[in-house]
């Protein structure tokens, strides 16, 4: 079987990477192998997405002796195999040219195949133990790659925070599965589907599942590790962590909440929806204020996860309400957004990798004018930016449109919580989308347009063919998924059917190019037609202008209101671009404060403008927690320094205490 073969090769590649790590060619070989493997897995996913019944499954004599390791490929799994391995293939192809030149390449290459393997196994696992083993291996492999550049204390800290949060997630999923399996301990998913959870059990399972998978996906306030860890890894790994691993987490959420969990009440949908809204807005607000390109991308991941979770929450709420059709619509929208995000976020991270490879800089302040120097990378990054800013006709807009459409039907639910919650979430979603556009105008405009802000940026030249090709492929994917949305949604309906028990008509009574879910009167969107129409208008405009007017063109210095400054420092920088937004939003949320120090009259020193911001969630949640733990540790630690008599006293106390307990229980 194709998939099995691909999975077999990955660990072998890891072994090879360890053995042959000294030779420089080995890295190229390993990444090429990873590319082939993920391409094969991609094909496997396509093969099973058909939606034919009877998902193939396999049982291996591994793991828990009386359970063994179960694997299964149903439509959901197949879809995520597709999502994940598309990006994985692109990232691997990129890494063939990129991974071999990293300073710490030998600390990355061996873990990369393991990472891919683990992520795929999470999708394939059909029992809790296998699932968690794969889940945790995924965390560990990515952790090791995060700390690959280990001389930098920041990376080490990021790695520690990351791995602790990852284990927190696992320790939420463990009891969750424990409840699903019941005291009998039948950890296969089939058994879990059949189990009846009590009201308390259902509550706990849902809560723990959301905490466990949410912490991995970056749901606010559990996102704290994400913007630290994702940028710390080398870019092709960051691409996978941001674009793919978060999707694996969402897969887990869907699997547990919509598949294993018997019936989930709409309250959870409402809660998820609100959490998603807050996550989206906060994430993009963080992102728009970042000056580090990769941190910006990581925060924007938080935002997109929030958007996807809004859709998921809606789906759960509708399903809990029995409105199956709308549930299916919301779920399709959410899945669509996950697929989109994995494509364009991978693209953008690979782009940032190309920028780093070309200039060695990550900070916006040192970039600029790259579009003229790296045309391919610039073009691909532009597509990604436009897509993530959810501009038609690219894919980002389709999923946003679908989510908004299903959101607009939210008030049809009888609960007042939803009636009032939905518009608020709608406002959040719209705000997030608009801010995302701002964020990426800023990022692209400052990194790729204008004049170079550093010599490195001035001397940059475009990256190798393989890297360009992988970015181009992803850019094409963005366009295709945007222009023929109906094809995608048709595929998604196969996935949604078993989860919501209904066949969604995504292009009701209008036919192929028209995306008009549920009913045509709701309003329709046809990217296909818009593109053709728009292109023709574009052509007409150009034609007319060149017919009526002159073609004469002259290159000159910028006019700039008559007094051009030839120093690049006169350009707008990241912070200055963000200033209006910082004043509008940051003042309250981040306690952003600006202070200007003017030199004395006659003093030639430059004036200084400094901005101070604090992360409310880190300051408000994590810091106090850490302080509490420290306090306890300090006090417990005193027990190390007692005298022998003191310890004897403890023993004696224990003995007497237990004797008393026995005495009392005997009297009772």
């Amino acid at each position: 079987m194709l998939i099995a073969g691909a999975l077999m090769t990955l660990p072998l590649l890891a072994v090879f990477a360890i053995l042959a790590g000294r030779r420089d060619f080995s890295h190229g070989v390993v990444y090429a192998g990873c590319f082939v493997a993920s391409a094969a897995l991609l094909a496997g996913g396509l093969q099973y997405l058909g939606g034919h019944s009877g998902a193939p499954s396999a049982v291996l004599p591994l793991g828990l002796p009386w359970i063994k390791a179960h694997f299964r490929i149903d439509n959901l799994t197949a879809l995520f195999l597709l999502i994940i391995n598309l990006s994985a293939a692109a990232a691997s192809a990129f890494a063939v040219g990129y991974g071999g030149h990293l300073p710490q390449r030998r600390r990355v290459t061996p873990f990369y195949p393991i990472f891919l393997l683990a992520m795929n196994l999470v999708l394939l696992a059909d029992d809790a133990f296998t699932f968690l083993v794969a889940w945790e291996c995924m965390s560990l492999a990515s952790w090791l790659m995060v700390v690959s550049d280990h001389k930098d204390a920041e990376n080490r800290r990021a790695g520690t925070v990351y791995v602790i949060m990852a284990v927190f997630g696992t320790f939420c999923l463990l009891p969750c599965f424990g409840l699903l399996a019941g005291p009998g301990g039948d950890y296969t998913f089939d058994a879990m589907r059949l189990r009846e959870l009590g009201s308390l059990g259902g509550f706990l399972v849902a809560l723990l599942a959301i905490l466990g998978t949410g912490s991995k996906a970056g749901l606010v306030p559990l996102h704290a590790w994400l913007p630290l860890a994702h940028p710390a890894a080398p870019s092709h790994v960051s691409a996978l962590m941001s674009g793919v691993m978060t999707k694996v987490a969402l897969y887990g959420m869907i699997r547990i909440l919509l598949d294993l969990h018997g019936e989930l009440s709409w309250h959870w949908g409402a809660a998820l929806m609100l959490a998603g809204g807050v996550t989206a807005v906060l994430g993009v607000l963080y992102a728009v204020l970042q000056d580090d390109l990769k941190k910006l991308l990581a925060y924007s991941t938080v935002e997109n996860i929030g958007v996807a979770i809004i859709g998921l929450g809606l789906a759960i709420a509708f399903k809990g309400d029995g409105q199956k059709e709308l549930a299916a619509l919301a779920l399709v929208a959410s899945l669509y957004h996950m697929a989109n995000h994995s494509v364009f976020k991978t693209l953008l991270f690979l782009g940032s990798g190309a920028v780093i490879a070309a200039t060695g800089h990550r900070s916006l302040g040192a970039l600029g004018g790259l579009l003229n120097r790296m045309p391919w990378t610039g073009a691909a990054f532009l597509v990604g930016a436009a897509a993530i800013a959810s501009l038609p006709p690219l894919n980002g807009f389709v999923s946003e449109w679908l989510i908004l459409q299903s959101l607009f039907k939210g008030p049809s639910m009888p609960h007042w919580a939803m009636k009032f919650g939905v518009p608020v979430v709608g406002a959040f979603l719209a705000l997030a989308a608009a801010l995302a556009a701002t964020c990426f105008v800023r990022a692209y405009g400052i990194a790729f347009l204008g004049r170079p802000r550093s010599d490195a940026a001035a001397e940059a030249c475009d990256v190798s063919f393989g890297m360009r090709a992988s970015m181009a492929a992803l850019a094409v994917a963005c366009v295709v998924m945007g222009v023929i949305p109906v094809t995608v949604t048709d595929a998604l309906t196969h996935v949604v059917r078993p989860l919501t028990g209904i066949d969604l008509a995504v292009s009701a009574d209008l036919g192929w190019p028209w995306l008009s879910p549920v009913s045509a009167t709701r309003g329709a969107y046809s990217a296909t037609i818009l593109v053709m129409f728009g292109l023709s208008l574009f052509a007409v405009a150009i034609f007319v202008v060149h017919r009526l007017g002159t073609q004469a063109t002259r290159r000159a210095d910028p006019w700039d209101c008559g007094h051009p400054e030839d120093i690049p420092e006169s350009q707008y920088t990241g912070p200055s671009f963000a200033q209006p937004l910082r004043r509008a939003f940051g003042h309250t949320i981040f306690q952003a404060r600006e202070s200007v120090t003017m030199p004395e009259p006659g003093d030639t020193a430059p004036a200084k403008h400094t901005v101070s911001m604090i992360d409310p969630i880190w300051q408000g949640l994590y810091v106090p927690l850490g302080k509490a733990v420290d306090w306890i540790a300090d006090h417990v630690n005193k027990l190390q320094y007692l005298t022998v008599r003191g310890y004897l006293l403890m023993m004696f106390g224990t003995l007497v205490f237990m004797l008393l307990v026995v005495a009392v229980r005997q009297q009772l």
Binding site: Y641, T643, R645, L648, V656
Partner: protein, 221 residues
């Protein structure tokens, strides 16, 4: 002789051991502690001998002998000698005032009686009574280890604890010899180890006060 009579005697001796245990707590001077301990050991020997007589278990005479020779004589002398040789100062340093120690001791005795009371069926009255006494002696021994500072008094407390163990063992009807041997064995080794310790400690410190040993107390991080 009647069951009742033998039971009374056993009870009496056991009570004596317990009283000796209280005596240990009461003493203010190290030598007096040693003497009291010797007395307790003698009483223990008597108890063992009596049990041997009652249960027609000759091996218990061995135990009695061990207790008499080893605990009642050898150990006190050894400690005596150590104190003389190392010039340990002769007063007992208490962590908890004697009055309070006594009160706690009484409470412990009450606890052990309360614990043993429900043990009625099957177990003979003999077992039950001496069990209560033995447990009290054990607990008192531990109490002594906690509330007294000198190394010597701690050792004595440890020994008193073991006296309680032996008292329980001998009064357990027909318990095989292996146990007594093991106890004697362990006590012997215990003493030698102590000896080694004191020796080393002597190399390093001028006093036997445990507090000196504990100046380091591990991992100052």
């Amino acid at each position: 002789m009647s069951q009742q009579f033998s039971y009374d005697i056993a009870h009496l001796i056991g009570a004596t051991v317990l009283m000796a245990g209280f005596g240990l707590l009461y003493q203010r001077r190290v030598f007096a502690v040693l003497n009291t301990f010797a007395f307790q050991a003698v009483a223990l020997a008597a108890a063992a001998a009596w049990q041997a007589h009652v249960q027609h278990a000759p091996h218990l005479y061995v135990t009695a002998a061990i207790a008499l020779l080893f605990k009642a004589m050898a150990v006190p002398f050894a400690l005596h000698w150590l104190i003389e040789k190392l010039g340990i100062h002769r007063t007992v340093e208490t962590a908890l005032s004697i009055g309070w120690t006594m009160i706690v001791g009484v409470a412990l005795v009450a606890l052990s009686i309360m614990l043993v009371l429900p043990v009625t069926a099957a177990a003979s009255a003999l077992t039950r009574e001496s069990l209560a006494l033995a447990m009290s002696v054990v607990l008192l021994g531990m109490l002594m280890m906690i509330t007294r500072r000198n190394a010597v008094t701690q050792v004595v407390g440890f020994m008193a604890l073991e006296n309680g163990l032996i008292l329980a063992a001998v009064s357990a009807k027909g318990m095989p010899l292996v146990v007594e041997i093991s106890i004697a064995f362990s006590v012997l080794v215990a003493m030698t180890v102590f000896g080694i310790f004191f020796f080393r400690i002597r190399e390093r410190f001028d006093s036997l006060d445990v507090a000196y040993l504990e100046s380091y107390r591990g991992d100052r991080s």
